[in-house]
């Protein structure tokens, strides 16, 4: 009887030991999974600084070669007016601070309107709308972003003036057309970008802002898709390097809300406080 009782105790002790050992292993496994998840998240966050988050996710799941697609997208090119003169006037540290403020305000305005900053090119910024995921509202988004940049720049200039620094001005060119979006570069180093003539024309249109004395210009292909409530002003067609026909552009005067406000005022519906 005692022998059977002892055997039962040993079996129970062994079962309890096995149970606790398994629990311990499970806890260890959970801790390792959680640590790995945190590390993976950190890695994805670090990669997101180098490419849009969606691209990073696809890079992890499908590999680099899968990320190359023909798309119709809207390209925006922004550039600082008179950067060379500014660089000569300011010491490098102050210049870097002014540039960082400009990059940040453009980046914030673009993200707010569902665009993606593609590349920083010196004082220029290449921005895409509808390059990563389908976006049927890409032209409206691009122009809204450009207007947001204009408003943010006004506020930034007020800050620069208070700090005794020179005001800055920018030119923005917007064009819509086809391109190949993907990870472009060497085997060792690639970046997410779009290639094709659409980018060149966006950059040329940005350069035309100096010629026309306007801060935001867009092409006919953008105007065709744009909400008619945006206030535009046609500019004279001018020849552009590398393009056969003279390029017709439109200056962006005001947003959709402005047109609606004018309409309401004309109809006597709006009462100013």
């Amino acid at each position: 009887m005692n022998h059977a009782y002892s055997l039962l105790l040993i079996v129970l002790a062994a079962a309890a030991g096995l149970f606790f050992w398994q629990q311990h292993r499970l806890r260890m496994l959970r801790a390792r999974v959680e640590t790995s998840a945190v590390e993976l998240q950190r890695l994805q966050q670090s990669c997101a600084l180098l490419a849009p988050a969606g691209v990073v996710e696809r890079l992890f799941s499908d590999g680099a070669e899968s990320i190359a697609e023909h798309k119709v997208f809207t390209a925006m090119f922004t550039d600082l007016v008179g950067y060379t003169a500014l660089a000569e006037r300011l010491d490098p540290k102050t210049l870097a601070g002014v540039l960082n403020g400009y990059f940040q305000l453009v980046s914030d305005s673009v993200t707010e309107h569902r665009g993606r900053v593609g590349t920083f090119l010196g004082d220029g910024i290449l921005i895409f709308f509808g390059a990563l995921e389908p976006n049927p509202w890409q032209c409206d988004d691009a122009v809204q972003a450009a207007l947001a940049i204009r408003a943010a720049l006004d506020r930034y200039n007020a800050e620069l003036e208070v700090a005794g620094l020179p005001r800055i001005a920018i030119g923005v060119g917007i064009h819509r057309g086809p391109g190949l979006a993907g990870l472009i570069g060497s085997r060792d180093r690639r970046e997410y970008t779009v290639v094709g003539p659409t980018l060149n024309l966006a950059a040329r249109v940005q350069a035309l802002t100096r010629e026309h004395g306007r801060d935001i210009l867009l092409t006919e292909s953008v105007r065709e898709q744009l909400d008619p409530r945006f206030e535009l002003m046609p500019m004279p067609a001018v020849p552009v390097k590398g393009i056969g026909e003279p390029v017709v552009t439109y200056a962006v005067v005001g947003g959709r809300e402005g047109r609606a406000r004018i309409k309401e005022e004309k109809a006597g519906l709006r009462i100013e406080g």
Partner: protein, 164 residues
């Protein structure tokens, strides 16, 4: 046994053939447990008087348009036409998320529907807070239900076999 059931699934038929909006779409889920569940959710959503049917259908249309799902968009177009919306006006509204017969609140709801298409939590949360300021609690909750259902139905459509 439960594992077996989960693995092989259970055939489920509609208690009665779907008749309301999206009936054509729902019939394609015949045999799947998803079908009756979706039919019930869509019927309840459609019956609710908190947001207008016109507005709810437009929110569905925005999500279909944004995701580029023709099957879903065609079905929603039929629903909108049944609600008295001219197809040309629907096209204008979808092109710029505003237009004929759409007031400022509806326009904000359409913009919110659009923001839920590509899941970016921080942006959705911020825009949801902005939307909350202009709607009642009931309207806001219903709007969340509409976008959640529209996104799931539209994405489920992508899983359906291609039509000949």
């Amino acid at each position: 046994m439960i594992r077996g059931m989960r693995k092989h699934g259970q055939r489920a038929s509609f208690a009665r053939p779907p008749e309301g909006p999206f009936a054509g779409l729902l019939l394609q889920f015949e045999g799947s447990p998803i079908g009756p569940a979706l039919a019930s959710a869509l019927d309840d959503l459609w019956a609710s008087p908190i947001l207008s049917r016109h507005c709810k259908a437009l929110m569905f249309a925005v999500i279909g348009h944004g995701l580029g799902c023709h099957r879903f968009s065609d079905e929603v177009a039929r629903v909108l036409e049944a609600e008295g919306q001219a197809p040309a006006d629907t096209e204008k509204i979808l092109a710029h998320l505003g237009g004929p017969g759409v007031d400022a609140d509806e326009s904000a709801l359409l913009a919110f529907a659009r923001d839920t298409i590509w899941y970016e939590p921080s942006q959705i949360q911020r825009r949801a807070r902005e939307l909350r300021k202009r709607l009642s609690v009931a309207q806001f909750v219903e709007a969340l239900g509409v976008v959640a259902l529209a996104n799931s139905v539209c994405r489920l459509c992508a899983a359906l076999p291609r039509q000949p």
